[in-house]
Symmetry: C2
Amino acid sequence: MIIAKPLTAAGFAAYGDVIEAAGAPSFMINAGKCTRFHDLARMDCDGGRMGISLAHAMPCEMPLTLTMIERHPLGSQMFMPLNDAPFLVVVSDGPSATPRAFLTNGAQGVNYHRGTWHGVLTPLFAPQSFLIVDRIGAGSNVQEHFFQTPFRITIPDA
Amino acid sequence: MIIAKPLTAAGFAAYGDVIEAAGAPSFMINAGKCTRFHDLARMDCDGGRMGISLAHAMPCEMPLTLTMIERHPLGSQMFMPLNDAPFLVVVSDGPSATPRAFLTNGAQGVNYHRGTWHGVLTPLFAPQSFLIVDRIGAGSNVQEHFFQTPFRITIPDA
Protein backbone atom coordinates (compact mmCIF):
# COMPACT_ATOMS: atom_id res chain seq x y z
CA MET A 1 0.00 0.00 0.00
CA ILE A 2 1.31 3.42 -0.96
CA ILE A 3 0.53 6.15 1.57
CA ALA A 4 0.26 9.68 0.18
CA LYS A 5 2.66 12.25 1.58
CA PRO A 6 1.92 15.95 2.03
CA LEU A 7 2.44 17.81 -1.23
CA THR A 8 5.38 20.19 -1.14
CA ALA A 9 7.07 22.17 -3.89
CA ALA A 10 10.41 20.49 -3.15
CA GLY A 11 8.99 16.97 -3.15
CA PHE A 12 7.06 17.59 -6.35
CA ALA A 13 9.73 19.51 -8.27
CA ALA A 14 10.74 16.59 -10.47
CA TYR A 15 7.14 16.25 -11.69
CA GLY A 16 5.76 19.74 -11.84
CA ASP A 17 4.85 22.89 -9.97
CA VAL A 18 2.74 23.31 -6.87
CA ILE A 19 0.30 26.19 -7.33
CA GLU A 20 0.03 27.80 -3.92
CA ALA A 21 0.30 31.13 -2.12
CA ALA A 22 3.36 30.08 -0.16
CA GLY A 23 5.79 32.41 1.55
CA ALA A 24 5.79 36.12 0.97
CA PRO A 25 3.72 37.51 -1.89
CA SER A 26 5.66 38.50 -4.99
CA PHE A 27 4.23 42.01 -4.92
CA MET A 28 1.17 44.08 -4.16
CA ILE A 29 -1.29 45.22 -6.79
CA ASN A 30 -4.48 47.32 -6.84
CA ALA A 31 -3.18 50.08 -4.59
CA GLY A 32 -2.18 47.64 -1.88
CA LYS A 33 -5.54 45.87 -1.66
CA CYS A 34 -4.33 42.71 -3.36
CA THR A 35 -1.30 40.47 -2.98
CA ARG A 36 -0.01 38.59 -6.00
CA PHE A 37 1.95 35.34 -6.01
CA HIS A 38 3.50 35.59 -9.42
CA ASP A 39 4.34 33.16 -12.20
CA LEU A 40 3.89 29.88 -10.35
CA ALA A 41 3.92 27.37 -13.19
CA ARG A 42 6.08 26.38 -16.12
CA MET A 43 3.58 26.40 -18.95
CA ASP A 44 4.89 24.44 -21.87
CA CYS A 45 3.28 23.79 -25.22
CA ASP A 46 4.66 22.11 -28.35
CA GLY A 47 2.41 23.25 -31.18
CA GLY A 48 -1.23 24.06 -30.57
CA ARG A 49 -1.93 26.65 -27.87
CA MET A 50 -2.68 26.74 -24.17
CA GLY A 51 -6.34 26.98 -23.20
CA ILE A 52 -8.54 27.31 -20.16
CA SER A 53 -11.14 24.69 -19.30
CA LEU A 54 -13.15 23.47 -16.33
CA ALA A 55 -13.59 19.93 -15.06
CA HIS A 56 -16.01 18.42 -12.61
CA ALA A 57 -14.66 15.15 -11.25
CA MET A 58 -16.29 12.41 -9.20
CA PRO A 59 -14.59 11.28 -5.99
CA CYS A 60 -12.52 8.11 -5.71
CA GLU A 61 -12.84 5.58 -2.94
CA MET A 62 -9.86 5.12 -0.66
CA PRO A 63 -7.79 3.01 -0.92
CA LEU A 64 -7.50 3.88 -4.58
CA THR A 65 -6.91 1.07 -7.04
CA LEU A 66 -4.54 2.67 -9.54
CA THR A 67 -4.91 0.81 -12.81
CA MET A 68 -3.29 3.30 -15.17
CA ILE A 69 -1.17 6.38 -15.56
CA GLU A 70 -0.95 8.77 -18.47
CA ARG A 71 1.25 11.53 -19.79
CA HIS A 72 1.03 14.36 -22.28
CA PRO A 73 4.12 14.60 -24.48
CA LEU A 74 3.14 17.92 -26.05
CA GLY A 75 2.19 20.12 -23.13
CA SER A 76 1.99 20.89 -19.43
CA GLN A 77 -1.30 20.52 -17.61
CA MET A 78 -2.47 22.53 -14.61
CA PHE A 79 -5.29 21.66 -12.24
CA MET A 80 -6.48 24.12 -9.61
CA PRO A 81 -9.34 23.09 -7.29
CA LEU A 82 -12.18 25.58 -7.00
CA ASN A 83 -12.91 24.79 -3.37
CA ASP A 84 -10.68 24.21 -0.36
CA ALA A 85 -10.79 20.43 -0.27
CA PRO A 86 -7.62 18.32 -0.52
CA PHE A 87 -7.23 15.92 -3.43
CA LEU A 88 -4.86 13.09 -4.22
CA VAL A 89 -2.02 13.59 -6.72
CA VAL A 90 -0.32 10.54 -8.23
CA VAL A 91 2.82 10.75 -10.35
CA SER A 92 5.39 8.26 -11.56
CA ASP A 93 8.91 8.11 -12.91
CA GLY A 94 7.62 5.76 -15.59
CA PRO A 95 5.61 2.64 -16.35
CA SER A 96 8.02 0.34 -14.52
CA ALA A 97 8.41 2.55 -11.43
CA THR A 98 6.35 2.55 -8.27
CA PRO A 99 4.03 5.56 -8.33
CA ARG A 100 4.34 8.37 -5.81
CA ALA A 101 1.30 9.83 -4.12
CA PHE A 102 0.83 13.27 -2.60
CA LEU A 103 -2.06 14.79 -0.68
CA THR A 104 -2.76 18.48 -1.21
CA ASN A 105 -3.53 20.73 1.74
CA GLY A 106 -6.74 22.12 0.26
CA ALA A 107 -5.23 25.35 -1.03
CA GLN A 108 -2.85 23.77 -3.54
CA GLY A 109 -3.10 22.99 -7.22
CA VAL A 110 -0.60 21.24 -9.45
CA ASN A 111 0.96 21.84 -12.85
CA TYR A 112 2.29 18.62 -14.38
CA HIS A 113 5.28 19.35 -16.52
CA ARG A 114 5.19 18.15 -20.09
CA GLY A 115 5.75 14.41 -20.17
CA THR A 116 5.16 13.70 -16.47
CA TRP A 117 3.39 10.41 -15.89
CA HIS A 118 0.39 10.97 -13.63
CA GLY A 119 -2.91 9.53 -12.50
CA VAL A 120 -6.24 11.06 -13.40
CA LEU A 121 -8.00 13.63 -11.22
CA THR A 122 -8.67 12.10 -7.83
CA PRO A 123 -11.03 14.04 -5.56
CA LEU A 124 -11.72 12.56 -2.14
CA PHE A 125 -15.13 12.07 -0.54
CA ALA A 126 -17.07 14.49 -2.78
CA PRO A 127 -17.19 15.77 -6.35
CA GLN A 128 -14.73 18.57 -7.01
CA SER A 129 -14.36 21.21 -9.69
CA PHE A 130 -11.04 22.28 -11.16
CA LEU A 131 -9.77 24.96 -13.47
CA ILE A 132 -7.50 23.43 -16.12
CA VAL A 133 -4.82 25.15 -18.18
CA ASP A 134 -3.47 22.79 -20.79
CA ARG A 135 -2.60 22.38 -24.42
CA ILE A 136 -5.33 22.48 -27.04
CA GLY A 137 -4.44 21.47 -30.56
CA ALA A 138 -3.91 18.74 -33.09
CA GLY A 139 -1.50 15.87 -32.57
CA SER A 140 -1.36 12.87 -30.28
CA ASN A 141 -0.99 14.34 -26.80
CA VAL A 142 -1.88 11.45 -24.53
CA GLN A 143 -0.07 8.23 -23.79
CA GLU A 144 -1.56 5.71 -21.37
CA HIS A 145 0.04 2.87 -19.46
CA PHE A 146 -2.07 0.15 -17.85
CA PHE A 147 -0.50 -1.79 -14.98
CA GLN A 148 -0.62 -5.58 -15.04
CA THR A 149 -1.01 -5.45 -11.28
CA PRO A 150 -2.77 -2.31 -10.03
CA PHE A 151 -1.25 -0.32 -7.18
CA ARG A 152 -3.16 0.40 -4.01
CA ILE A 153 -2.87 3.96 -2.74
CA THR A 154 -4.41 5.64 0.26
CA ILE A 155 -4.21 8.79 2.33
CA PRO A 156 -3.11 8.95 5.99
CA ASP A 157 -5.83 7.94 8.44
CA ALA A 158 -8.22 6.93 5.67
CA MET B 1 -25.78 54.79 -8.92
CA ILE B 2 -24.91 51.85 -11.18
CA ILE B 3 -26.56 48.57 -10.13
CA ALA B 4 -24.70 45.41 -11.11
CA LYS B 5 -26.52 42.96 -13.36
CA PRO B 6 -26.13 39.19 -13.30
CA LEU B 7 -23.07 38.14 -15.29
CA THR B 8 -23.96 36.23 -18.45
CA ALA B 9 -21.82 35.13 -21.38
CA ALA B 10 -24.01 37.06 -23.80
CA GLY B 11 -23.98 40.27 -21.78
CA PHE B 12 -20.22 40.08 -21.27
CA ALA B 13 -19.22 39.00 -24.79
CA ALA B 14 -18.01 42.43 -25.87
CA TYR B 15 -15.58 42.52 -22.95
CA GLY B 16 -14.41 38.97 -22.47
CA ASP B 17 -15.32 35.40 -21.64
CA VAL B 18 -17.28 34.03 -18.70
CA ILE B 19 -15.50 31.01 -17.24
CA GLU B 20 -18.29 28.71 -16.14
CA ALA B 21 -19.56 25.17 -16.44
CA ALA B 22 -22.69 26.19 -18.33
CA GLY B 23 -24.84 23.91 -20.43
CA ALA B 24 -23.78 20.44 -21.42
CA PRO B 25 -20.18 19.42 -20.82
CA SER B 26 -17.96 19.37 -23.88
CA PHE B 27 -16.99 15.76 -23.29
CA MET B 28 -16.22 13.16 -20.66
CA ILE B 29 -12.71 12.27 -19.58
CA ASN B 30 -11.15 9.83 -17.13
CA ALA B 31 -13.31 6.86 -18.11
CA GLY B 32 -16.52 8.78 -17.55
CA LYS B 33 -15.67 9.96 -14.03
CA CYS B 34 -15.03 13.55 -15.07
CA THR B 35 -16.86 16.06 -17.24
CA ARG B 36 -14.86 18.70 -19.09
CA PHE B 37 -16.06 22.13 -20.19
CA HIS B 38 -13.51 22.80 -22.87
CA ASP B 39 -11.64 25.87 -24.10
CA LEU B 40 -13.62 28.59 -22.36
CA ALA B 41 -11.39 31.62 -22.86
CA ARG B 42 -9.70 33.49 -25.67
CA MET B 43 -6.15 33.70 -24.39
CA ASP B 44 -4.27 36.41 -26.21
CA CYS B 45 -0.69 37.51 -25.78
CA ASP B 46 1.40 39.97 -27.79
CA GLY B 47 5.00 39.16 -26.99
CA GLY B 48 5.98 37.73 -23.63
CA ARG B 49 4.13 34.57 -22.56
CA MET B 50 1.06 33.59 -20.58
CA GLY B 51 1.63 32.65 -16.96
CA ILE B 52 -0.25 31.37 -13.94
CA SER B 53 -0.40 33.38 -10.71
CA LEU B 54 -2.51 33.64 -7.59
CA ALA B 55 -4.01 36.73 -6.01
CA HIS B 56 -5.52 37.34 -2.60
CA ALA B 57 -7.74 40.40 -2.67
CA MET B 58 -9.39 42.39 0.10
CA PRO B 59 -13.12 43.06 -0.07
CA CYS B 60 -14.60 46.35 -1.22
CA GLU B 61 -17.37 48.18 0.57
CA MET B 62 -20.67 48.58 -1.22
CA PRO B 63 -21.52 50.94 -2.77
CA LEU B 64 -18.17 50.91 -4.52
CA THR B 65 -16.56 54.24 -5.33
CA LEU B 66 -14.97 53.55 -8.70
CA THR B 67 -12.10 55.99 -9.11
CA MET B 68 -10.23 54.31 -11.95
CA ILE B 69 -10.24 51.71 -14.68
CA GLU B 70 -7.33 50.03 -16.40
CA ARG B 71 -6.58 47.95 -19.46
CA HIS B 72 -3.83 45.69 -20.72
CA PRO B 73 -2.97 46.37 -24.36
CA LEU B 74 -0.70 43.34 -24.71
CA GLY B 75 -2.68 40.46 -23.27
CA SER B 76 -5.87 38.92 -21.96
CA GLN B 77 -6.31 38.42 -18.22
CA MET B 78 -8.31 35.69 -16.54
CA PHE B 79 -9.52 35.64 -12.93
CA MET B 80 -11.11 32.54 -11.43
CA PRO B 81 -12.27 32.65 -7.79
CA LEU B 82 -11.10 29.76 -5.62
CA ASN B 83 -14.25 29.69 -3.53
CA ASP B 84 -17.92 29.92 -4.37
CA ALA B 85 -18.50 33.55 -3.44
CA PRO B 86 -19.78 36.10 -5.97
CA PHE B 87 -17.62 39.08 -6.86
CA LEU B 88 -18.22 42.31 -8.71
CA VAL B 89 -16.97 42.75 -12.29
CA VAL B 90 -16.68 46.26 -13.72
CA VAL B 91 -15.91 46.94 -17.38
CA SER B 92 -16.16 49.95 -19.64
CA ASP B 93 -16.29 50.88 -23.29
CA GLY B 94 -13.69 53.54 -22.57
CA PRO B 95 -12.65 56.43 -20.36
CA SER B 96 -15.59 58.61 -21.43
CA ALA B 97 -18.23 55.90 -21.16
CA THR B 98 -20.33 54.94 -18.16
CA PRO B 99 -18.95 51.71 -16.70
CA ARG B 100 -20.98 48.50 -16.68
CA ALA B 101 -21.14 46.29 -13.61
CA PHE B 102 -21.85 42.60 -13.36
CA LEU B 103 -22.28 40.33 -10.37
CA THR B 104 -21.01 36.76 -10.70
CA ASN B 105 -23.08 33.85 -9.42
CA GLY B 106 -20.30 32.37 -7.29
CA ALA B 107 -19.25 29.73 -9.81
CA GLN B 108 -18.09 32.11 -12.54
CA GLY B 109 -14.74 33.61 -13.45
CA VAL B 110 -13.93 36.13 -16.15
CA ASN B 111 -11.36 36.48 -18.88
CA TYR B 112 -10.92 40.09 -19.96
CA HIS B 113 -10.01 40.26 -23.60
CA ARG B 114 -6.89 42.15 -24.53
CA GLY B 115 -7.55 45.87 -24.27
CA THR B 116 -10.81 45.69 -22.29
CA TRP B 117 -11.12 48.53 -19.79
CA HIS B 118 -11.95 47.07 -16.38
CA GLY B 119 -11.92 47.76 -12.67
CA VAL B 120 -9.59 46.00 -10.27
CA LEU B 121 -10.55 42.80 -8.43
CA THR B 122 -13.60 43.48 -6.31
CA PRO B 123 -14.49 40.82 -3.76
CA LEU B 124 -17.54 41.42 -1.61
CA PHE B 125 -17.77 41.07 2.16
CA ALA B 126 -14.63 38.94 2.64
CA PRO B 127 -11.14 38.44 1.22
CA GLN B 128 -11.09 36.20 -1.84
CA SER B 129 -8.42 34.26 -3.67
CA PHE B 130 -8.21 34.02 -7.45
CA LEU B 131 -6.21 32.08 -9.97
CA ILE B 132 -4.89 34.43 -12.65
CA VAL B 133 -3.79 33.58 -16.18
CA ASP B 134 -2.26 36.60 -17.85
CA ARG B 135 0.66 37.88 -19.84
CA ILE B 136 4.11 37.95 -18.30
CA GLY B 137 6.84 39.78 -20.13
CA ALA B 138 8.56 43.03 -20.94
CA GLY B 139 6.75 46.05 -22.34
CA SER B 140 4.17 48.47 -21.05
CA ASN B 141 1.06 46.37 -20.46
CA VAL B 142 -1.06 48.57 -18.24
CA GLN B 143 -2.91 51.79 -18.96
CA GLU B 144 -4.89 53.50 -16.23
CA HIS B 145 -7.64 56.08 -16.42
CA PHE B 146 -8.70 58.06 -13.35
CA PHE B 147 -12.18 59.57 -13.38
CA GLN B 148 -12.61 63.22 -12.52
CA THR B 149 -15.86 62.26 -10.83
CA PRO B 150 -15.89 58.72 -9.45
CA PHE B 151 -18.80 56.42 -10.25
CA ARG B 152 -20.86 54.77 -7.55
CA ILE B 153 -21.62 51.10 -8.11
CA THR B 154 -23.53 48.64 -6.00
CA ILE B 155 -25.06 45.18 -6.11
CA PRO B 156 -28.78 44.42 -5.86
CA ASP B 157 -30.12 44.49 -2.29
CA ALA B 158 -26.81 45.73 -0.88
